[in-house]
Symmetry: C2
Subunit: 412 residues, 2 copies
């Protein structure tokens, strides 16, 4: 039987067709898709997905936050191997982010059925609600509720920019199920995803064996100085928050260059009043710090806060810092990472270990089960963009590796 | 007669009353005034001013750009000593900026009339149109036209944010006169003005003998990089225009600290798309460079442009620079500066030489006549602000120095 299984491959055109079919729901006409969580397009996507699961003979269950599970029974009962991701998108999303992981899971199940294989343990395909957080915050909402780090009540109470709550939206599209969240605790969780970054596309190889998700810390910083006339105010009299903000940006780059795997991003700076001939009175800015190692992240945060305090004081500028997000670094399960590497080798693809720069449902699942991820290249690293693209041969490679890894885990 | 003249002093309460009367036109209720150029409030201010000139028996003439001249005849004909400034304000202006120079000029004339003194040369009080440039650009429009550096046609064609032209606005408030601009070429031009900066208020003394106006260069800079995901894009892959903009701000401070009298200001930076987790794609920013010495200003501009080009290149960011304003440094007339210093001493006030950080009508008049300025302190350096304030005793000191300097020049 292992002989036969090692010859198993996914049906590439079938997976690509499913990606095209789901991509047609919320098609934005420019290659992209828009299926905001719990929107009409999301409803259509969910119904399409359940129809696919139904056609494959899976047992379908939906939980109270709208997470959809389609299960192929195993020869034994017990916790399934779960293959999951999400089918919601950001406002200007692409066809691959999230969709790939769910549809490749369907393809794995389809191959097993076609080959007449019943694995030892059940295989469950999961689509988690509102991974993107584009309409309702927090992101990764469905997997947060599943993992028990967010209560159902908190999730229902979240509102979009129009004041519509998750509770109302989920009822409006009839996406609410009866399953208690967290009921299905898998023996292993695997998620195939596009990298959303440039590394595999630029440097290869085709398969990333993801060792974990970076820790993330977000800060909103307000610097208050004094508005002054650019012509009449000597430099020594100034209290310029723009200068302090700029110095922090330059220092953040130094930190990123000197601490292993550290990423620092200042994505926004707003100067008030923002006039050419006026020293700004106030600057609001953001700081995004990421590192796969929380100890390194602590070091980066500590250094930059010290630098900011010292620099602001030297310029007579006051500082207010609000932490708006904090996710600990999530290391994935070593046994699963090895399974992914072995599966890649079995399928004839080189792989490299790498860290996920973005957040994924897998990091929540890692709290309740062994978890890992498989990355395939994103052309030019683009994502959250209609031009998001992964080459068909890389889609197929990722699907094959997911299939082989699933067999290793579901028959272990 | 010189004995009698050395005892002459202005009537302080009368000058302060006139400042209050003009400040009541366009009173914003918070201590400030709003008399945008060629607005209804400007019309009322102009009519009030002409009535004051008429009551003093001055010969009134208005030119085709609306500059108002009221002349007290001298014992001899010939070019007058001109005492000028402006009565328009910015949108949220104060009671002193501009108004002080015109009304102190009126007070000088009033004192001479009261004392029965006819100076050797005429004394002409001038109020120039649209010094502020808050509604119509360029600023210092009336004195630019008077000095011949801006044509009447160009001035008439300037439009405000609502599309109303200067030509239409000046006719609508009946502020257009018959005098050809530039007809009156004074033998000397003096302008009393509030400092609009913190130096005299912080360090004293009461009187600034202004030696010139800084050169000014304005730049709008656009930096284009690449928008990338803050989590998935390693630092080495980034093309971050925000980092380049920030480095320029830090470098500009170094330049200001190392080149004599150099002022550098970055008053605006805008990050696009401006999201916490996205490396910005584009930054637009401003750069304001000032120095009383054009050679030093050249050096600052050259250094910062080189730094920007090098830094942007190193980060894969493209640079576009547009120069939006350039005024050469204007040194004032040494004989007039000495006259101001002598007048201050005669009136019992210490003075210091200083440079004007802001632009003034005097810098245009310097192109066609010997010119100088007298500064008095601005409390906390505030200006273009309802809280703009100069202490009554400093107003009176400035008026006395203007009176004494006028006598030195008009009887020379």
């Amino acid at each position: 039987m292992s002989e036969m299984r090692s010859n198993l491959r996914i049906d590439g055109p079938r997976l690509l067709n499913r990606l095209a079919d789901l991509g047609a729901i919320g098609d934005t006409g420019d290659g992209g898709a828009r299926r905001l969580a719990l929107s009409e397009e999301d409803r259509q996507g969910r119904n399409w997905l359940k129809a696919q699961m139904h056609a494959l003979g899976l047992t379908i269950a939906t939980d109270k936050i709208g997470n959809i599970f389609g299960t192929l029974p195993g020869r034994e009962d017990g916790p399934p191997v779960m293959l999951g991701s999400h089918i919601d998108t950001v406002g200007t999303g692409g066809r691959y982010d999230g969709a790939l992981g769910v549809l490749a899971g369907l393809e794995v199940v389809a191959v097993l059925r076609d080959a007449g294989i019943t694995p030892r343990y059940p295989v469950c395909i999961a689509a988690f609600t509102n991974e993107e957080g584009a309409r309702f915050q927090p992101d990764m909402m469905g997997s947060c509720v599943h993992a028990g780090v967010l209560s159902l009540e908190e999730a229902y109470a979240a509102r979009d920019a129009d004041g519509v709550s998750v509770g109302d939206a989920i009822r409006a599209i009839d996406a609410i199920g009866t399953l208690e969240p967290g009921s299905i605790k898998p023996r292993a969780y695997l998620e195939l995803h596009i990298e959303q970054g440039p590394i595999l596309d630029s440097e290869g190889p085709v398969i990333g064996a993801v060792t974990g998700v970076q820790g993330i810390r977000w800060f909103e910083i307000t610097l208050e100085g004094e508005s002054n006339h650019a012509g009449t105010t000597p430099i020594s009299y100034r209290r310029d928050p723009g200068l302090v903000a700029s110095a922090l940006n330059v220092e953040a780059r130094q930190v990123a260059d000197s601490i292993l795997d550290q990423r620092c991003t200042i994505g926004r700076m707003e100067f008030t009043p923002g006039q050419i001939n006026v020293v700004p009175k106030r600057v609001t800015m953001t700081l995004d710090l990421r590192n796969p190692n929380d100890t390194h992240l602590d070091k980066a945060e500590h250094h930059l806060k010290e630098f900011l305090a010292t620099t602001a004081k030297a310029h007579g500028v006051s500082v207010s810092i609000q932490e708006t997000a904090r996710f600990a670094a999530t290391p994935f399960d070593e046994r699963l990472i090895v399974a992914v590497e072995g599966a890649a080798k079995e399928m004839g693809h080189a792989s490299r270990r790498m860290v996920s720069g973005a957040g994924h449902d897998a990091q929540l699942m890692a709290a309740i089960a062994p978890a890992a991820m498989i990355f395939v290249p994103s052309v030019d690293g683009l994502s959250h963009n209609p031009r998001e693209f992964t080459k068909p041969e890389h889609i197929v490679a990722g699907g094959d590796v997911l299939l082989a890894a699933t067999l290793r885990l579901a028959d272990a």
